[in-house]
Amino acid sequence: MSSMPGRAKRLESAVSVCLLAVLFLIGLGVLIKQSRVDMSRFGMEAAAVPESEILADLGPLTPAGFLTLSKTEIYDAANLYEKINGKAALYLDSGFKKLLTQRFANKNDSNLWMELFVYDMDNIANAFSAYSTQKRPDVETLSFAYPRFHYRTGNGLYFVHGKYYVEEVGSSKSTKLLRAMVEIAQKISSALAPDDDTRTFEAKMTLLPKENIVPGSIKLYLASTFGYEGLTDTFTAKYRCGDEAVTAFLSRRANAKEARTIAESYYQFLIDCGGVEKTVPLAGKLPGRVIDVYGTTEIVFAIGPFVAGVHEAESYECAIEVASLLLRKLVDESTAVIK
């Protein structure tokens, strides 16, 4: 073997290298093929298009008749402030992961341009919280099935889709821009099918009664609802009561005991803030407390794993009416003993 001529040694090395290269290529091919497997071919759930292919670069979302005005910019938690300055805290406190932005301009009129902001908020609850707490009043909706949570203003379109909160901000009020924004929204929603997380989240919202609800008024506060630190992950919604719009709130806790503890501590918070408990008998025998806070009525109660109530109602009667509505709905949902 040691007497193997140099030419033979070189040939042996070359063959070995070739074999290793072939094995490497086979491995690479398997890896690539496996990452693109379409489960629907095997009668299983269709695979969603990988997120990395859709939202790693916003360029492919360029609407018809528009050009990219800038490259896709990507921001993370460390440099988000470089894009939105003091507003960064709002997102960072809500699970923000990254932001992608890009500008598009109309091919025929460069003054018509828009900027797309895609916030990856890690999950739909975070995304919905960012969306709903910034939602502008007196807005319009469009006839979309998805993205379900959306609204438009004079110059913008805003929506949640899965874990993404998306803003499309136009340079002016323009139907051309609006059409382009709608096109982008539909591209995103058709590329990313609603997942289990979305369906579970939407089911949580159904805990709020539909009767008399002001459409589009649901908000989600992840922390410090109404200024109270202990009241987290809380849905709020407005309900019509005569000329008044009353805010109801609802937070699902881990168990009934925790719900009772939080309801009691929130009550104490209201008292500490200058509230005075009302001793008036509750209509409908509400299992909670009624507090007058500087002329507005607060109601808080715990039922099963839920903490719920009414916030800053102008009239006592409307506060009772809305709280009763909420209670009836939660009684149906809860098997826990009413405190």
Partner: protein
């Protein structure tokens, strides 16, 4: 025999290589140890040159410190507001160089109200050049977003260039370190000093905006655009940094545009729905007084913004703007 010879050779070769590798590792480790700086850079190290911003304020003139003009046209309003304080001739003398600092923080369209409106800045440029006789007017800011995009997309670059001003974008060499006497945060910190060096007057022009962190962004907060470095760290103590900025910057005049006020989702906004018409413009030689009145357009009280009281305590100005007897007028 051949195999043994081969093994013998390999062992020797192996030992030789191990020895060489060991020497290499030891040498690299020794060099690294010698070069290792366990203490890191010393934050307190003073740079060779510390600068101080010039004092641009004018002597107090009783009864002509703050003017408030109501009207839908911001260009007419600013003319009236400055006229009520004695005219631009009071603030700008022939041959002087004036720096105007608008809020150009974001690369967003004027319609959003996140940046100073271009027609307002352009009008002040014209006043300085034509009536004040200024030799040169510089318009500058150190924006949050890409500077060129901010000046272009806000419409300010085009508007002020047409009015005869020079736009100065931040460059690395424009920043010098400063320390604010009595300051807690502005210590050996880079500021956008270049455009303010060797100029005579400084005018701040800002929109009135809701601000998620500070509560409101107005005249005093506008000086945030003069900070360099990783200034976002100051958001942790936003009231102190705004106070210190107001202590550091002594402007000739501040102008606050409340024609449309950003009531929600500030400081970036993002929708015309965030704006509410207030049809008001304020010109003031006292930036604390200007902000104290302006916050009422955001449905706030001066006491809602801790930095106003802090600035007053530091002697920057007064939150009791009524004590200055504001000159109030309406323009049709």
């Amino acid at each position: 025999m051949n195999k043994q010879a081969g093994n013998k050779y390999r062992r020797r070769d192996f030992l030789g290589r191990v020895a060489k590798a060991g020497i290499s590792v030891a040498a690299a480790g020794t060099v690294s140890y010698l070069l290792y700086d366990g203490t890191g850079p010393k934050p307190g190290t003073e740079p060779a040159e510390l600068v101080t911003l010039p004092y641009f304020s004018l002597p107090h003139r009783a009864g002509q410190t703050i003017s408030i003009v109501e009207g839908a046209n911001r260009v007419k309003n600013v003319n009236k507001a400055i006229e009520l304080l004695g005219g631009i001739e009071r603030f700008v003398k022939p041959g002087e160089t004036v720096v105007i600092k608008p809020n150009v923080a974001f690369a967003s369209p004027p319609i959003l109200g996140a940046t100073t409106r271009p027609e307002l800045v352009a009008e002040v440029v014209r006043l300085c050049l034509t009536r004040g006789g200024a030799k040169k007017v510089i318009v500058t800011d150190n924006p949050i977003n890409d500077p060129a995009s901010c000046f272009t997309l806000s419409g300010i670059a085009k508007a002020v260039s047409q009015a005869g001003a020079k736009v100065v974008l931040p460059r690395a060499r424009s920043f010098k370190h400063t320390t604010l006497a009595g300051g807690k945060l502005i210590k050996n910190w880079p500021i956008f000093y270049g455009p303010l060096k060797n100029v005579d007057k400084l005018i701040g022009i800002a929109p009135i905006k809701n601000h998620h962190r500070a509560g409101a962004s107005m005249a005093m907060k506008n000086w945030y655009g003069l900070l360099g470095g990783r200034r976002n760290i100051f958001h942790q103590d936003i009231n102190t940094i705004i106070t210190e900025l107001a202590m550091m910057v002594k402007p000739t005049l501040v102008i606050l545009d409340g024609t449309e006020v950003m009531m929600t989702n500030g400081p970036t906004g993002g929708s015309v729905s965030d704006l509410r018409r207030a049809d008001t413009l304020i010109a003031s030689c006292d930036q604390v007084a200007a902000d104290s009145f302006a916050c009422t357009l955001l449905d706030l009280k001066p006491s809602d913004l801790p930095y106003l009281a802090k600035a007053e305590k530091a002697g920057v100005g007064t939150t009791n703007y009524e004590s200055l007897k504001p000159i109030i007028a309406a323009v049709s």
